[in-house]
């Protein structure tokens, strides 16, 4: 999903360089591998890093509720970005890592960022036993592991004013987007490898400036890697993961193009994990209301339609100010769903900087 963020990681901080790097990403794979259809997955190895691809992420969002009924949202992301299609030991390893952590309450939104280079042990991912970490932030397998390596995870992160420690347990299978994991991102055919674990139940504790709060809820993990996933004309994207009260789920994104056009894609996930992928045009995402967020106008309420499934819902944010104040900033926060299929979910919107 968050392609632009990963692109930014490569180019780090300087905007002109960002543009240059972005262009590079959009056009050339430059010695890196590209996902080929059909993809064959090899687990647990594919839970680990793919250094021959340029960008990759482990992206977890959780919708949580406290005993007093207050809703919360948590984000934990580890991006990998390669300067060269190889790994190495030591300071000069050409792999850079970026962690983002977010915590949303109805009143506040906290965010934090960590950067690291590979090769020295400060950040990385190992597939078996599964562990992804940057500094003291970690997403690691809780032992004993049975079934998939990602089935039972412990998740921690810490910012200046917040922290969380969650325990995740999957009660469904991994699901694959697009064509068995081959997810096309533009009409020109840019694509990525993309699978998810959308069936986590969560218990744990979040730490706010006011103190600890016990929480329960559900979570969704995205795994994606690619080398040239964006079309040059694409400006940003709006992405949702929706968990309906009836147990079904929907992943949908809408890539905004410079000429005003959109490229959409969706995956319908039944409660038992069976999926149906929808090509461009099947999903409709329409902004309903904008909010002033961090000095810019962001569409925080959406109408999401998937006529094939009779889906017509509107989403409202838990906190419209869910702004990730990090190097390349974006909106990411929990949402409530009303309409034909009520439920909860997560909304991510990039490219509004």
């Amino acid at each position: 999903m968050n392609v632009r963020l990963a692109a930014a990681l490569l180019c780090l901080i300087s905007p002109p360089v960002f543009a240059q790097g972005f262009a590079g990403l959009g056009t050339e794979a430059g010695g890196f591998a590209v996902p080929e259809n059909p993809l064959t997955f090899d687990f647990p190895a594919d839970h680990g890093p793919h250094p021959e691809f340029r960008i990759e992420w482990w992206y977890l969002t959780a919708t949580l509720t406290a005993p007093d009924g207050t809703d919360y949202g948590v984000q934990w992301t580890l991006f990998r970005s390669a300067l060269a299609p190889m790994t190495a030991e030591g300071w000069e390893a050409p792999q850079l890592w970026m962690g983002h952590a977010g915590l949303t309450t109805p009143e506040a939104h906290f965010s934090a960022e960590r950067l690291a280079r590979g090769g020295i042990g400060q950040a990385g991912v190992t597939p078996d036993p599964f562990a992804a970490w940057i500094d003291d932030w970690a997403m690691v397998a809780r032992d004993p592991v049975s079934g998939d390596a990602l089935d039972a995870l412990a998740l921690t992160a810490r910012g200046m004013e917040f922290a969380y420690a969650l325990s995740l347990t999957a009660n469904g299978p991994l699901i694959f987007h697009g064509d068995a994991g081959y997810s096309v991102k533009s009409a020109e055919g840019q694509a990525s490898a993309y699978y998810s674990q959308p069936f986590y139940t969560v218990t744990g504790t979040i730490t706010l400036p006011e103190g600890d709060v016990p929480v329960t809820g559900s979570a969704w993990l995205d795994r994606e890697w690619s080398s040239q996933p964006l079309s040059e004309a694409q400006e940003g994207w709006d992405w949702v993961s929706l968990q309906f009260d009836d147990g079904a789920r929907l992943m949908g994104f809408s890539l905004r193009e410079a000429d005003g056009g959109r490229y959409t894609s969706a995956t319908w996930i039944e409660a038992d994990g069976t999926t149906q992928a929808y090509p461009d045009g099947a999903l409709r995402m329409t902004p309903l209301a904008e909010a002033q967020v961090a000095g810019r106008s962001v569409p925080v309420e959406w109408r999401v339609e998937l006529p094939d499934r009779g889906l017509d819902v509107t989403t409202t944010p838990l906190n419209p100010q869910s702004w990730m104040d990090v190097t390349v900033s974006y909106w990411e926060g929990p949402i409530r769903i009303a309409g034909t299929h009520p439920g909860r979910g997560y909304l991510e919107m990039t490219g509004y900087e």
Binding site: L10, C11, L12, I13, S14, P16, V17, Q20, G21, L83, A84, G90, W91, E92, P94, L96, A112, L115, A116, R117, I120, G121, Q122, W133, D135, D136, R158, G159, M160, E161, F162, A163, T207, P209
Partner: protein
């Protein structure tokens, strides 16, 4: 009305362009020297501040190992994995012969924002290139233009990098320096919630942010020195201005009287004078700024060299323009001109409209003020002695100097008057009697210039005695200390065995030299490991030694420290110095260690390697018969294959040390000459002023039977007499100055005390110079007197003045 008044006053200058030139030159010179010195100071301070701010050292704490060695990479990772926001820095120096470059390898990914890592600011930087081999080096264009080691990665120019250094990715630095472990960790000011305090986390040493760095305090004395010189020059310049304004006023007495008789109010007259003065001061000040900038720019490379050589402080050799500096210099000029013009304005204010000109009354008033001045001088001298006795700080040292110099200057007129009175008593002949009497009468008018001359001469004697003493001690010490004939260094510690096998049969002794940087008594310091050898026992000058000092050191029971450490930490023989928690030894001796700003301790090699097992031995001193040294050096290069800079002979090191030394004092020398020149100029303007005022006194003597040529010669002789007397008084003052510099200021500033040596030949040279200055100053007025048309002299008799 004011306009008319100012115009009337200004018309004076059209008829006296020379006087205008004097006034402008005086103000401009004063401004130039002062502002020049200030510009140098400001530039240096700014670059210290910049250096201190490099990598946010002024805001960020650091973690480093107590023993000064690099922090293991695993420790760094452990800290990060525990959640602490720390960022690694690998720093070191690349050397190739004289070319050297300080590398600062940073990790932009973890560097706290205060680091201000220039890599990530400003214009686009190819970050992929920055992060991956061969990497990029960021440095100023000045650094890039200098001598650099070969085979460096591509260079990108950034003007925020400290001089002589390059900022690069930590990976690049690790590769170039062959070191994976960070030298220290920068600690972000804010740490995440819920972590225990960092200083409990590891057994690393947490150092608070260093505000304007230690280098600032080290170099303070140097800048204080410059400032003192600048003020001295400014004062001397003001003497000139005072004389010029005084003259201009005297000559316009009649004009002012007429203006006021014609109904111009006194207030308007004063305003007109003030405006005229302010205008002249602004113009001259601007001129002085240009000059000052030129002086500073000319001296800057020398200053940079000095600071680098003596203190290891890097500042750029070039000057940048600072408007605040310009404003403050102009302000100083205005204030100075106001001060100098105050007396003239007061006299204008008090002058009755119909007062006849009466210079003698002025002289009488001066005699009264001369007594007051002598009184003030006595007080100042007493204060100076007081400061010298109490002492104990750099400030006290400089206060002693200031009080002493000012006191000596103030007491000069009274002393000269006394000497001249005594001399005139024993004078034979009407002419000599008149010369002495007349000279005495001129004293008030000349005293300012003579005081300036005294200051310049005393400063000259004092500083040259100090420098001379320093040079003599330093060269003697170098000869002693640098006893080994050859010094070897190797890049790879693994090479040591084969090198030793090569040199052992060829040299009388091979002395390993090993050291590590480590704080001593809370200051930057260095510990040496030495083998027991006659070279040290015979040649190391111990300032203080316990009985059997060398034996006790050789047995590993004691250590030696340098004078600097002993002085600032107040350590004496027998005190125990803790180098590391594992290594505490009593002090058996104190050795002199000139030219080195840091603290030093020396232990036996065995002790050293026990404590610092990882510090490799890469340097060796060789004792060979001096005549065999060149052959062995070339054998080492040609047969053994040491690189050319791997072998250094004693003479080379001496030459280098002495050149650093000479550079240190070249700026002092330059300022000395400038100050003396300004003083001579002050004397010239004073004499020119007096020449006009004194015509009525010279005319009768001429009428009574002296030729103008003779009178002119007398004028020169008079100036010489005054110069000689001033020199005679300046000599003891200068020697006192030298003593204060050596015994108080040096000890406080550098941490070492030097024996004072006298250089009478230098005094003779300076005396000749002073006589030359006096003669030159008198030459122009004398020449004018000799060429004076009789008509001018006759006017004295014919007209009422």
């Amino acid at each position: 009305m004011v306009y008319t008044a100012v115009l009337t006053l200004l018309s004076h200058w059209r008829r006296h362009p020379g006087q205008l030139l004097t006034l402008v030159a005086g103000l401009a010179l004063a401004t130039a020297l002062w502002s020049g010195v200030q510009a140098i100071n400001a530039e240096a301070r700014a670059s210290y501040a910049e250096a201190a701010a490099t990598l946010g050292q002024d805001q960020l704490s650091r973690l480093s190992r107590a023993d000064g060695r690099p922090v293991p990479l695993a420790d760094y990772i452990a800290l990060r994995r525990a959640g602490y926001l720390v960022s690694p820095v690998i720093s070191g120096e690349l050397r190739d012969g004289p070319a050297r470059l300080r590398l600062l390898g940073i990790d932009p990914l973890t560097a706290p924002p205060q680091t201000g890592a220039p890599a990530l600011e400003g214009e686009a930087l190819d970050l992929a290139a920055f992060f991956t081999a061969p990497g990029l080096l960021l440095m100023t264009d000045e650094t890039a233009a200098g001598a650099l080691p070969p085979d460096l990665p591509p260079i990108v120019l950034r003007d925020t990098v400290p001089p002589g250094a390059a900022i690069t990715d930590i990976g690049t630095a690790a590769r170039l320096l062959g070191q994976a472990d960070p030298n220290y960790l920068l600690v972000a000011a804010d740490q995440p919630a819920g972590l225990p305090p960092l200083d409990e986390a590891r057994d690393l040493r947490l150092q608070g942010p260093s505000t304007t760095a230690d280098i600032g305090s080290l170099t303070d004395s140097f800048h204080l020195n410059l400032t003192a010189f600048g003020l001295l020059s400014f004062a001397v310049g003001l003497f000139i201005v005072h004389a010029a304004i005084g003259l201009a006023f005297e000559q316009r007495r009649a004009t002012v009287r007429t203006l006021r008789a014609l109904g111009l109010p006194l207030r308007t007259t004063l305003v007109a004078f003030g405006l005229e003065l302010a205008g002249l001061a602004l113009f001259s000040g601007a001129l002085g700024l240009v000059l000052g900038y030129a002086i500073a720019a000319a001296l800057m490379p020398g200053v940079a060299g000095t600071l680098r050589g003596l203190y290891g402080a890097s500042i750029p050799g070039t000057l940048s323009f600072d408007p605040v500096w310009a404003l403050s210099a102009i302000g100083m000029t205005l204030a100075g001109a106001g001060l100098a013009g105050l007396q003239a304005l007061r006299r204008a204010a008090q002058m009755p409209i119909l007062a006849p000109a009466n210079p003698r009354a002025w002289a009488q008033a001066s005699a009264r003020s001369m007594r007051m001045q002598a009184l003030a001088a006595g007080t100042l001298l007493a204060v100076g002695v007081g400061f010298a006795v109490v002492g104990g700080s750099l400030e006290a040292g400089f206060a002693t100097l200031a009080a002493l110099l000012l006191g000596a200057a103030l007491i000069l007129p009274a002393t000269l008057g006394l000497i001249l009175r005594l001399a005139s008593r024993s004078a034979r002949g009407a002419l000599s009697e008149w010369i002495f009497a007349d000279t005495r009468q001129q004293l008030p008018g000349l005293s300012l210039a003579l005081m300036a001359l005294l200051l310049a001469l005393a400063a000259n004697i004092g500083v040259s005695t100090m420098v001379g003493s320093f040079r003599e001690t330093f060269t003697g010490w170098l000869d002693q200390r640098l006893a080994p004939e050859l010094y070897l260094s190797i890049a790879d510690p693994g090479e040591a065995e084969s090198l030793l096998a090569f040199v052992r049969p060829r040299a009388e002794a091979v002395l390993p030299i090993v050291s590590t940087e480590i704080p001593l008594a809370g200051r930057p310091g260095e510990v040496f490991g030495q083998v027991d050898h006659a070279t040290y026992r015979d040649h190391w000058p111990l300032l203080a030694a316990a009985p059997g000092a060398w034996d006790r050191v050789a047995d590993g029971e004691a250590l030696l420290i340098n004078e600097q450490l002993a002085r600032f930490a107040g350590l004496t023989l027998g005190d125990v110095l803790e180098i590391t928690p594992d290594l505490s030894l009593p002090i058996a001796g104190v050795y002199s260690d000139y030219g080195n700003p840091t603290a030093q301790a020396s232990v036996t090699l065995t002790r050293f390697t026990e404590t610092f097992p990882d510090v490799p031995v890469t340097r060796f001193a060789l004792r060979v018969p001096p005549e065999d040294a060149p052959a062995l050096a070339s054998a080492l290069r040609d047969d053994y294959g040491l690189p050319p800079d791997g072998v250094v002979n004693q003479a080379q090191i001496k030459r280098f040390s002495l050149s650093v030394f000479e550079q240190t004092f070249s700026i002092t020398g330059a300022l000395n000459v400038l100050t003396l020149g300004v003083a001579a100029f002050a004397l010239l303007t004073s004499l020119l002023t007096l020449a006009t005022l004194r015509l009525p006194q010279l005319a009768p003597v001429w009428a009574l039977g002296l030729t103008r040529a003779r009178l002119a010669r007398i004028e020169v002789v008079r100036s010489l007499i005054l110069g000689a007397l001033t020199f005679a008084l300046a000599l003891p003052v200068g020697l006192m100055l030298a003593w204060v510099l050596l015994a108080i200021v040096n000890v406080e500033a550098f941490g070492w005390r030097l024996p004072m040596t006298l250089f009478p030949i230098d005094w003779l040279r300076l005396f000749a110079l002073a006589m030359l200055a006096a003669a030159l100053a008198a030459a122009l007025p004398a020449l004018r007197l000799a060429r004076l048309s009789p008509t001018t002299l006759l006017k004295v008799f014919a007209h009422e003045r």
